[in-house]
C-alpha cells in the first residue's frame, strides 16, 4: 500500500492509515511521569520530617515494583514496559502510605504484592480492578498489623536510636479524643505515614496535576467535599464529640487518597455520573470507618471498596446519547 511520491529521485513514501490522522501529544508514559513529578513534593516532605529512612523506603518500594513488573512481563512474554512510569507510581504511592520505621523486608513484600498480584495477575496496566498501591497496603495491614500501626513522631527517626513511638492524629482522635493542631497537620508535623502527613506538599502536587489536565476535578473535590460535608453534619450536632471537617480533611490519608488514589484512571469510573457516585459513597465510607469503625483510618478501605464497583458503575451510568429522547417535528 505504499507508493513512490512524485518528486524525482526521492525516497519519500506515502503512508496510509485510517482517520483521524492527527493525534494528541499525550501518552501513557507522559501522564505517568507527570504523576511521578507531582509526588515529589510529598517525598521531599517525608524526608524532611522522617529523615533518610523515608527515602530508603521509597527507593526500596520503587525498586521492588520495577523488578516485579519486569519479571511478570518477561514471564508472560509481554513487551517490557517498565519505563512507562506506572510501576514507579505504585511503588511510590505504597511507600508514602507506610510508617517511617516500617520493616524493609515488609516493604519489599508489599511492593511485590501490589504490582504482582494487584496489577500483573489481572493482566497488567489497565486491567486491574483495585488500586495496586492500596491493595499492597491492605496486604501489609493484614500481614504486619503491629508494624503498620506503630508510628513515630516526625524528626525523631534519626535523632535517637529508639524512635519515639506515638499515635497518629486519627488514632488520638479515636481512642483518646485528642485533636492535633490543624497547623501541624497542614504542614505535616505529625505522626503518620510518610506521605500522608503533609497536606501542603500533597496539594502542590495535586494542583500541578490539575493544571496539567491529568485529573478530573470532580474526583478529588467530590471526595474531599463529601468528607467535609458528612463529617461536618456530626460536628455541628456535637462539636465536643466529633472532630471538625477540617481535621478530617487534613488528618490521615484523606489528601493523598483524594489527589492520587481516587484519581487513579484505571480504577475510577469513566462516566460523569459514575464518578460522582464513586467519590460520594467513598467519602461517606471513609468518615463512617473513621468515626464508628474498628480502625482509626478509613481512606484506604473506602477507595478499595468502591474500586470493586467501578465496572458496574461504568455499565449503568452511560451518558445520554446525543438526540436520545429528542422528538422530531412535523
Amino acid at each position: 500500500m505504499e507508493d513512490k511520491a512524485t518528486t524525482q529521485g526521492s525516497a519519500t513514501k506515502l503512508v496510509v492509515s485510517s482517520s483521524p490522522h492527527f493525534l494528541t501529544d499525550d501518552s501513557i508514559p507522559k501522564i505517568m511521569h507527570t504523576v511521578v513529578m507531582a509526588l515529589i513534593p510529598a517525598v521531599v516532605a517525608s524526608v524532611y520530617f522522617f529523615g533518610f529512612r523515608a527515602l530508603l523506603l521509597v527507593a526500596v518500594c520503587i525498586g521492588t515494583s520495577l523488578v516485579t513488573e519486569y519479571a511478570f512481563q518477561k514471564y508472560r512474554n509481554k513487551p517490557i514496559k517498565i519505563y512507562d512510569g506506572s510501576a514507579i507510581i505504585t511503588g511510590l504511592l505504597l511507600a508514602l502510605t507506610l510508617p517511617a520505621n516500617f520493616s524493609i523486608f515488609g516493604a519489599i513484600l508489599g511492593s511485590f504484592f501490589a504490582v504482582g498480584v494487584g496489577k500483573q495477575l489481572f493482566g497488567g496496566l489497565g486491567f486491574n480492578i483495585f488500586n495496586p498501591a492500596l491493595l499492597g497496603r491492605a496486604f501489609l495491614m493484614a500481614t504486619y498489623p503491629v508494624f503498620m500501626t506503630t508510628w513515630v513522631s516526625p524528626r525523631t527517626v534519626e535523632a535517637a536510636v529508639d524512635a519515639v513511638s506515638t499515635a497518629t492524629p486519627l488514632a488520638m482522635m479515636k481512642f483518646e479524643h485528642k485533636i492535633a493542631p490543624l497547623y501541624d497537620l497542614f504542614i505535616g508535623n505529625t505522626a503518620g505515614s510518610l506521605g500522608e502527613t503533609s497536606v501542603i506538599a500533597i496539594l502542590i502536587g495535586g494542583l500541578y496535576l490539575r493544571y496539567k489536565g491529568y485529573i478530573n476535578w470532580k474526583l478529588p473535590l467530590g471526595y474531599l467535599g463529601t468528607i467535609a460535608v458528612f463529617s461536618g453534619i456530626f460536628w455541628l450536632m456535637d462539636p465536643a464529640k466529633y472532630p471538625s471537617p477540617l481535621f478530617h480533611l487534613f488528618a490521615g490519608g484523606a489528601m493523598l487518597g483524594a489527589w492520587f488514589m481516587v484519581t487513579d484512571m484505571v480504577t475510577s469510573p469513566v462516566t460523569p455520573i459514575g464518578q460522582w457516585i464513586f467519590v460520594i459513597v467513598a467519602g461517606i465510607l471513609a468518615v463512617v470507618i473513621r468515626l464508628w469503625g474498628g480502625l482509626p483510618e478509613g481512606v484506604m478501605y473506602s477507595i478499595l471498596f468502591m474500586n470493586a464497583f467501578v465496572p458496574l458503575l461504568n455499565k449503568h451510568t452511560r451518558p445520554r446519547v446525543f438526540g436520545a429522547g429528542a422528538s422530531a417535528r412535523g
Partner: protein, 449 residues
C-alpha cells in the same frame, strides 16, 4: 454577540495560519482531467459520451435517472481520451472519464445576468441545482437538490449555512466567506427560497474574524439572515453539533436535520448555487486548500474537478521531500481519506489536500486502555468509545448495537485524545460494517424464505 457551542469535543492545533491570509488563486488549466462517474452520495452516473468525443467546458458528460444523484460535467474542453477504471480519492477504484484539454477556456462571467431570487420558483431553483450537478461541498457530497426536496408533511423553517470549517489546516470556506460574501448570502437566500424557509443562519467559528466582518457587511440591515458565532472547537461543523449549537435543536437519534425543520449546507455550496443560477455555470471547479507541513507553498486554489493531486500539489511548490515519509489526505487530518497514489483527481467533495510529514504521522503501536475517560469526555454523541472500540474489534455486533455504535458520526475525537494511541474510531468503523453485513445477510435470508 454570545458565543455558542455544543457539548464535549476537542481543541486540536489548527495550523490554519498556513493558508488563511492569502487570496484564493486560480490554478493553471490542467492539460488532462480524470473525472470519476461517482462523485456524490447515491447512484453513480451513466456515460453520455464515448471515447474520442469532443466535449465543451461545462457540457454534461454523465447523468443518471436515480433521484439521489447528481450529473457530472466536463471541467475543461477537449477530447475524451479514455473511459476506464481509475484510482478514486475515496479510497477505491471507479469508472472515470479522462479528457485531454485543448487549452481553451470559457468565460462564464461574460454571459452573467444577476437574477432576482423572487422571480424564480422553488421548483425551477431545484432543477437548476440538480442540472448543475451541485453536491454538498463540505466533503460528504450529498446531492443538494435531494436535500432541498423534503418529504411531504415536513416543513423547513431554517436554512443553516455551515461556515465552521472545524478541520485543522483547511481554510477554503474561510477564504470563500471573506472574498465572496455577496455570493454566499445570495446562495443562502436561494436555498431558503427552495425549501420555503423564512430564516437563514450562518454558523461560523470565532477564529475567522475577517469572514465574520465580510458576511456582516453583506447581510447589511436585512433581518432574515443572522450570523451565529461559534466556539472554535472540533467537530463544530458536524451537522448535528452545528444545529444544536446554533439553534438548541437536537436531531433525534437516527433522524435527519429536516426532522427538526432544518437544512444545513456548506458555504461553498451556496456559492456554487449562485454561479449555477447567475453564470449558468455547472459545478466544474471548486476551492481547495492545499496545506500541511509537507507542502512547500501551501495555498488555496480554485481547481478544476478532475485535476490530479500530483498537478495541484505541483502548483504549490511540490512536496517537501526532505521531510521523509508523508501522508497525503483528501480532506483534513481528522476526517480525511489517506491516498496511496497522487494520480487521484480532485472531485466535487475535495475541500482540501493535506500533507502530513513523518513527524506527524501517528504511531502504529498502541497500549492497553487505562480507562482515563478522555474518549467519553470528548465524544460529541455521548457514546463510550473505549467500549465500542473493544466490541468492534471483536465483532460483537449485539453489544455494538446495545451501546449505540450506529450513532457514531466518525469525527475521530476519541482516537485523537487517546493517550494509549488506540485506533478507536477504526475499530468502531469495523463494528459498524459488521452490523451492516449482518443486516444485509438477514435481509437476503428473509428474501429467500
Amino acid at each position: 454577540m454570545a458565543i455558542k457551542t455544543f457539548d464535549r469535543g476537542i481543541h486540536p492545533s489548527y495550523h490554519k495560519e498556513l493558508t488563511s491570509g492569502g487570496r484564493i488563486e486560480r490554478a493553471a488549466l490542467p492539460k488532462l482531467v480524470i473525472i470519476p462517474l461517482q462523485q456524490h452520495a447515491g447512484a453513480p452516473c451513466e456515460l453520455l459520451v464515448k471515447k474520442g468525443d469532443l466535449v465543451q467546458e461545462g457540457q454534461k458528460i454523465a447523468d443518471v435517472k436515480a433521484f439521489v444523484s447528481a450529473p457530472i460535467h466536463a471541467s475543461i474542453s477537449g477530447k475524451v481520451k479514455d473511459i476506464d477504471l481509475a484510482d478514486h480519492p475515496g479510497g477505491s477504484r471507479a469508472m472515470a472519464i479522462t479528457i485531454e484539454g485543448d487549452g481553451l477556456m470559457r468565460d462564464w462571467v461574460a454571459g452573467a445576468v444577476q437574477t432576482d431570487i423572487s422571480a424564480i420558483s422553488a421548483d425551477a431553483l431545484r432543477d437548476i441545482i440538480r442540472e448543475a450537478g451541485i453536491v454538498g461541498m463540505g466533503g460528504a457530497a450529498f446531492p443538494t437538490s435531494v436535500k432541498l426536496s423534503p418529504p411531504k408533511g415536513k416543513t423547513i423553517d431554517t436554512v443553516i449555512l455551515n461556515g465552521c470549517e472545524c478541520e485543522p489546516f483547511l481554510t477554503a470556506d474561510h477564504r470563500i466567506m471573506v472574498e465572496e460574501a455577496g455570493a454566499v448570502i445570495w446562495g443562502l437566500r436561494a436555498l431558503m427560497k427552495a425549501v420555503g424557509a423564512g430564516a437563514g443562519l450562518i454558523g461560523i467559528e470565532e477564529n475567522k474574524p475577517d469572514a465574520i466582518d465580510a458576511l456582516d457587511k453583506a447581510v447589511g440591515s436585512s433581518n432574515d439572515i443572522r450570523l451565529v458565532i461559534l466556539e472554535t472547537k472540533y467537530p463544530q461543523g458536524a451537522e448535528k453539533m452545528l444545529i444544536a449549537a446554533a439553534m438548541g435543536r437536537k436531531v433525534p437519534t437516527g433522524k435527519l436535520p429536516l426532522d427538526v425543520g432544518v437544512v444545513v449546507n456548506n458555504v461553498g455550496t451556496a456559492v456554487a448555487i449562485y454561479e449555477a443560477v447567475n453564470l449558468k455555470k455547472p459545478l466544474i471547479e471548486r476551492v481547495v486548500t492545499i496545506s500541511g507541513n509537507g507542502v512547500t507553498a501551501p495555498k488555496n486554489l480554485r481547481v478544476r474537478v478532475g485535476t490530479t493531486f500530483e498537478e495541484v500539489i505541483g502548483q504549490c511548490g511540490g512536496l517537501k521531500t526532505s521531510e521523509g515519509d508523508m501522508e497525503v489526505l483528501n480532506g483534513g487530518p481528522m476526517m480525511g481519506i489517506t491516498q496511496s497514489t497522487l494520480t487521484v483527481p480532485v472531485i466535487k467533495g475535495t475541500s482540501g489536500i493535506t500533507v502530513l510529514t513523518a513527524r506527524q504521522i501517528k504511531p502504529v503501536a498502541y497500549d492497553p486502555c487505562i480507562k482515563c475517560s478522555s474518549c467519553v469526555e470528548v465524544c460529541p454523541m455521548g457514546l463510550m468509545p473505549y467500549r465500542l472500540g473493544d466490541y468492534g474489534r471483536a465483532h460483537r455486533t449485539d453489544d455494538l448495537k446495545a451501546w449505540d455504535a450506529l450513532a457514531c458520526i466518525e469525527c475521530g475525537c476519541c482516537s485523537y485524545v487517546c493517550p494509549a494511541k488506540r485506533p478507536l474510531l477504526h475499530w468502531i468503523r469495523v463494528g459498524k460494517l459488521k452490523i451492516r453485513e449482518e443486516a444485509a445477510k438477514a435481509a437476503a435470508k428473509a428474501a429467500k424464505a
